[in-house]
Amino acid sequence: MKTCLIVDDSTVIRKVARRILEEIGFEVDEAEDGKEAFEKCAKNMPDSILLDWNMPVMSGLEFLKKLRSYVGGEMPKIVFCTTENDIGHIAMALKAGADEYMMKPFDREILEGKFLGLYQD
C-alpha cells in the first residue's frame, strides 16, 4: 500500500483529500504546515505528498526545496495543491522538484487522476 502525507493548514481540505486518497488505496497521514511535514518525513518518508503552498510556519515551497536537498528526500512524489493558479507558480513548483500541480478548487476526478497518474509508468 502506498503512503501519502497530506500537508495543508485547512482541516477541511485534509479531510476531503484523505477520504478520496484512502478510497483509491493510499494510507494517509497529515501535517498542518511545512515544519511538521518535514519532521514526519525525517522519521518516515512517505511515497507521496499532497502539498499546500501558503501555510504558516513553513510554506509548501520552502518545504519542497528543503526536502529535495535532503538525503532520501528525492523519493516521494509531490503534488502541489493550491489556490495559486498561474503559470509562474506552476513553473516554479516544477522547477523546485514537484511532480504534479493541482489548482484549487479541485474535484474527486482531478485528485484521483493526478495520484493514479503518478504511479502509472
Binding site: N85, D86, I87, I90, A91, Y101, F106, I110, Q120
Partner: protein, 270 residues
C-alpha cells in the same frame, strides 16, 4: 411537456443526428431545451416542438446543440493516445512519405476540442519526424456550439486539470483571466469543420487515422453500420479507426478488424 412533443423531438433528433433519445430522458430534454425556448421566444417547450420540423436552421441547430452530449477530456483513456504516438503515427508518417503527401488525422466527434488538441500535442512533440511532409488534424462535429468553443482554444481550470499534466499545461497554455488558452502553434495544426456523421465525408478527403470516440454509442445498429461504411472509405487498407473504451464493432461491422496489439484500435484489412 406533451407526449406528442417528446415524439416530435425524438424523431427530429433521429433524423438529423441519428441520435436515439429514450422516453425516460424527458426530464433531460426539458432541462436542456429551456434555454432554447427562451432564446427564440417560444411560449413553452410544446410550442418549440410543434414548430421544430419547419423551424429555421438556427432553431434546429440550437436544439441539436442542446441535446448532444459534448463532454470530453484531454488524453481521455490515455491508451489510445499512447497507441497513436507509438504505432499509428509512425505508420502514418511512413505511408505519407511513400506517397509524398501530408499526414492526415481525422477527429470525427471532436466536441469541445480536447481530443484533437491532445493529438496536436503528440504531433508537436514529434515534429522532426513529419516536418518534411507536413501533418494536419481535421476536427469535425455536428454541434456548432461545441466546435466554436474548440476553435477558440479556451478551457476552464477544471478542463485543463482533467488529463493534462502540470508539465503539459505549462508547455502548451497561457492564462487569460480565469481561462486557459492553448498555444497558437497547436491551434494552427487543427482545422475545425461542421460535419454530420450521417452524411458522406468524401469531401474531407483521405486520412491515415480516424478517431471516432464516444459517439457511436448514441446510434442504433443500422446507423452505426452506415457510418462505419463511410469511415472505411476514407481510410487506406491497414488504416486505423480508434473508438471509445466501451465501444466494439462485434455484430455491427466486418469492415474493420480489432488490432490484436492496440486497445481500442480497429484496422481496415490490408
Amino acid at each position: 411537456m406533451l407526449e406528442q412533443s417528446v415524439a416530435i423531438i425524438a424523431r427530429f433528433m433521429q433524423q438529423k443526428a441519428g441520435i436515439q433519445l429514450s422516453a425516460n430522458k424527458i426530464y433531460m430534454i426539458e432541462a436542456r431545451l429551456e434555454a432554447v425556448v427562451k432564446r427564440f421566444g417560444f411560449a413553452h417547450i410544446d410550442a418549440l416542438a410543434a414548430s421544430l420540423p419547419m423551424a429555421m436552421g438556427e432553431v434546429q441547430q440550437a436544439v441539436i446543440d442542446a441535446l448532444t452530449t459534448n463532454e470530453s477530456f484531454f488524453f481521455r483513456d490515455q491508451k489510445p493516445f499512447d497507441a497513436f504516438e507509438q504505432a499509428l503515427l509512425p505508420q502514418a508518417i511512413a505511408r505519407a512519405r511513400d506517397e509524398d503527401r501530408k499526414v492526415r488525422i481525422w477527429c470525427a466527434a471532436a466536441a469541445t476540442g480536447q481530443e484533437p488538441y491532445s493529438l496536436a500535442m503528440i504531433l508537436a512533440a514529434k515534429k522532426h519526424s513529419w516536418l518534411h511532409q507536413g501533418a494536419e488534424i481535421v476536427a469535425t462535429d455536428l454541434s456548432q456550439t461545441a466546435l466554436s468553443r474548440a476553435k477558440s482554444g479556451l478551457f476552464t481550470q477544471f478542463e485543463v486539470q482533467r488529463g493534462l499534466s502540470a508539465q503539459q499545461l505549462v508547455q502548451h497554455f497561457t492564462k487569460i483571466d480565469e481561462q486557459w488558452q492553448i498555444a497558437p502553434a497547436l491551434q494552427h495544426m487543427v482545422q475545425f469543420e461542421v460535419h454530420n456523421l450521417l452524411h458522406n465525408p468524401a469531401r474531407l478527403g483521405q486520412f491515415d487515422t480516424i478517431f471516432c470516440r464516444n459517439v457511436l454509442i448514441y446510434f442504433d445498429v443500422e446507423t452505426k453500420r452506415q457510418i462505419l461504411t463511410h469511415l472505411a472509405r476514407q481510410l487506406p487498407p491497414g488504416g486505423a479507426l480508434v473508438l471509445g473504451a466501451s465501444e466494439t464493432l462485434v455484430g455491427v461491422s466486418d469492415q474493420f478488424k480489432p488490432d490484436p496489439n492496440l486497445p481500442m484500435v480497429f484496422r481496415r484489412p490490408e
